[in-house]
């Protein structure tokens, strides 16, 4: 399998828009790396440069150490799945998958066998003779995936392949894409703007903003240890709290009237400096202010948390497994995700105590 390196990729579009700003990225052999970012962050441009559909102003794209930028797209040996349906409408599913082999003048028997085998792999063994317009959106993208794999490419490129599909199909198909990628062990670059998709499918996620990699790491690293405010707010939901550093050595900050100990390195900050704290909604624990003896709404965690701030319920949004509760408290306006059966006891305007375990309140690394 192939190793892909993007070195100092720079691309400016007409009108001076900087699409890529000296982008650096390494994808190890057999790895699936997602490029995650909002629209306009350059993720699709980067992929299209790798595929050969755009030319960078500067930089290199190395596949196993060899720069491929001089090669036209048709000779780069990459398989690509596009965002919009890209099947050839005049060909059946089988003919679509066999097309890369027909171009390579492989014998008819070989290419048909391989097409059937790949369609079986993507779960469409019974739809081989259907035309694209006879297939659902999800099925069309499965065929597109099979076609992208037909000529045994060194690298698989996926450009938001699931964004046109329904939520249920999207979840199902992303699991299959991952299963097939692991089965074949093919080096893969996956472009998406959907953070859950990126977290769930990737070996590593590269979060892009304004043409640069803001952070790259495993899904858990990106989610739990975001390095910039952009990553923290783009990946998942986050509460942001302003604080002032009290003691860099002990990791203590003052937030309103309270002194809290946070997770993360404060050594870069001077005493008295402003610092942003962030806190995931699932790490905010709410304790209802009920008479002693009745257990708090969140049960065991109760008063053991270090920072009990009293507040009031502002909004309650049922999301299924969890309920998102908006609370106004001394730390500011926070949202907390609590188990839905716990939230059933809450009403708007109820007084609650907000408890956060010390390790959960973090500064950006």
């Amino acid at each position: 399998m192939a190793r892909v390196e993007l070195r100092g990729l720079h691309k400016t579009f007409g009108g001076g828009t900087v699409a890529l700003d000296r982008l650096e990225l390494d994808v190890a052999s057999g790895e699936l790396v997602s490029l995650l970012g909002p629209s306009g962050c350059g993720k699709t441009t980067a992929l299209r440069i790798v595929a050969g559909f755009e030319t960078p102003d500067a930089g290199e794209v190395l596949v196993d150490g060899v720069d491929v930028l001089g090669l036209p797209a048709s000779r780069r040996n990459m398989g690509m799945v596009f965002q919009s349906y890209s099947l050839f409408p005049n060909m059946t599913a089988k003919a679509n998958v066999a097309y890369p082999l027909r171009i390579r003048r492989r014998p008819k028997a070989e290419r048909e066998a391989r097409a059937v085998e790949l369609l079986d792999l993507v779960g469409l063994a019974r739809q081989v003779d259907r035309y694209p317009h006879q297939l659902s959106g999800g099925q069309q993208q499965r065929v597109a995936l099979a076609r992208a794999l037909a000529h045994e490419p060194a690298v698989l490129l996926l450009d938001e392949p699931l964004s046109a599909l329904d939520a249920k199909v999207r979840v199902q198909l992303r699991e299959e894409v991952r299963r097939i990628q692991l089965e074949l062990g093919i080096t893969t670059i996956y472009v998406t703007h959907d953070q859950e998709e990126a977290l769930s499918i990737s070996d590593r996620v590269a979060v892009l903003a304004e043409g640069r990699v803001e952070q790259i790491g495993t899904p858990a690293e990106i989610y739990n240890r975001p390095r910039t405010p952009f990553v923290a707010s783009f990946v998942g939901t986050v509460n942001q709290i302003d604080a002032v550093v009290v003691s860099p050595a002990e990791g203590a900050v003052r937030c309103g009237e309270r002194v809290l100990v946070v997770d993360g390195d404060l050594s870069g900050h001077a005493q008295g400096a402003d610092v942003g704290l962030y806190l995931r909604p699932e790490d905010v624990v709410l304790v209802t202010d009920e008479p002693e003896g009745t257990p708090g709404a969140s049960g065991t965690s109760g008063a053991s948390g270090t920072s009990g701030a009293s507040g009031k319920v502002r909004s309650i949004t049922f999301l299924g497994p969890v309920t998102r509760v908006g609370v106004d408290c001394e730390l500011g306006a926070l949202v907390a995700d609590v188990a839905s059966d716990v939230a059933l006891g809450l009403g708007i305007g109820d007084p609650v105590t907000v408890v956060v375990e010390p390790g959960r309140m973090r500064t950006l690394v």
């Binding site: 349906y85 099947l87 005049n90 097309y99 694209p132 317009h133 076609r147």
Partner: protein, 278 residues
């Protein structure tokens, strides 16, 4: 939002309202009748009209038409010119339209503009300008092939617009990139992916080109070629019943073409439906 107006008036007309056939709908039925059916009926009547040797004419004028050697020669001249025009147009325009859509989309408005030029520059002006220019070059000027090149220009808008619509319907950019990603050269993409999906656009545009080349009168008349429309016109100057018979024959040939066009058009809609599933 202080006060809301009442939700619905108290009196409700229950009978479901069938929408009336609008006025212009009726107009178009009448117009079609007036413009296409009435002249055609009058034409057919006329082609069987007049008296020959004291008897009613019957198929006399048709027989006269087929007996005239000029009928066949002018007809085949027009067919030959039409086919040459179609072949030349397709060879020039299919790659051009493909390339403009794929690589030079900024040229699309320019092409849209160029493709109306033949309508906007009156043929009479072009020909008045061309005649003094062409006259010295007798080896071109005297051969009917000169019409091929002129008709390519006049038919260009029709074929180009047909191709343009066809190309817009197929998500060309992505299909071409997918094909390149599969290893195909641009030429291979054109032949294996684009042309098969433009089939009905090409055929539809070709029929129009044939119809225009077969029916054009002004230019061939001014350049003094005895094409089929010129032949009809000349007959009409002398024997109007015979001209009517000729026109009927010409219409029947045209209708055969139109039916083919309609069948192809249905095929085209199927392609459009495919495209709609994107």
């Amino acid at each position: 939002m202080a006060a809301l107006s009442p939700a619905a008036p108290a009196t409700v007309r229950r009978p479901r309202r069938r929408r009336h056939l609008p006025l212009w709908h009726a107009f178009w039925i009448l117009a079609a009748a007036a413009y296409f059916i009435v002249p055609i009926i009058s034409l057919v009547q006329f082609s069987f009209g007049g008296r020959v040797d004291g008897h009613s004419a019957g198929f006399h004028w048709y027989a006269t038409v087929f007996a005239d050697p000029n009928f066949a020669s002018s007809f085949w001249l027009s067919v030959q010119i039409a086919l040459e025009t179609v072949a030349l147009s397709i060879a020039l325009l299919v790659p051009t339209a493909f390339w403009i859509h794929l690589r030079l989309p900024r040229l699309r408005p320019v092409m849209d503009f160029v493709s109306v030029l033949p309508f906007v520059v009156p043929p009479i002006v072009l020909i008045v300008g061309l005649i003094p220019f062409l006259q010295p070059f007798t080896f071109i000027y005297s051969r009917p092939e000169v019409l091929d090149f002129i008709y390519v220009v006049f038919a260009m808008p029709f074929l180009y617009r047909s191709l343009d619509a066809g190309l817009r319907a197929i998500n060309l950019q992505t299909l071409a990139e997918a094909s390149a990603n599969c290893g195909a050269s641009t030429w291979s993409t054109l032949i294996r992916v684009v042309v098969p999906n433009l089939r009905s656009a090409i055929i539809g545009g070709s029929f129009l080109t044939v119809a225009i080349a077969m029916g054009e009168f002004t230019i061939s008349s001014l350049l003094s070629f005895n094409t089929f429309p010129v032949y009809i016109f000349n007959i009409g100057q002398s024997t109007s019943n015979e001209a009517a018979a000729l026109a009927v024959i010409s219409l029947l040939l045209t209708w055969a073409l139109m039916i083919a066009l309609y069948v192809v058009g249905r095929g085209g809609r199927t392609t459009a439906q495919m495209a709609a599933t994107r």
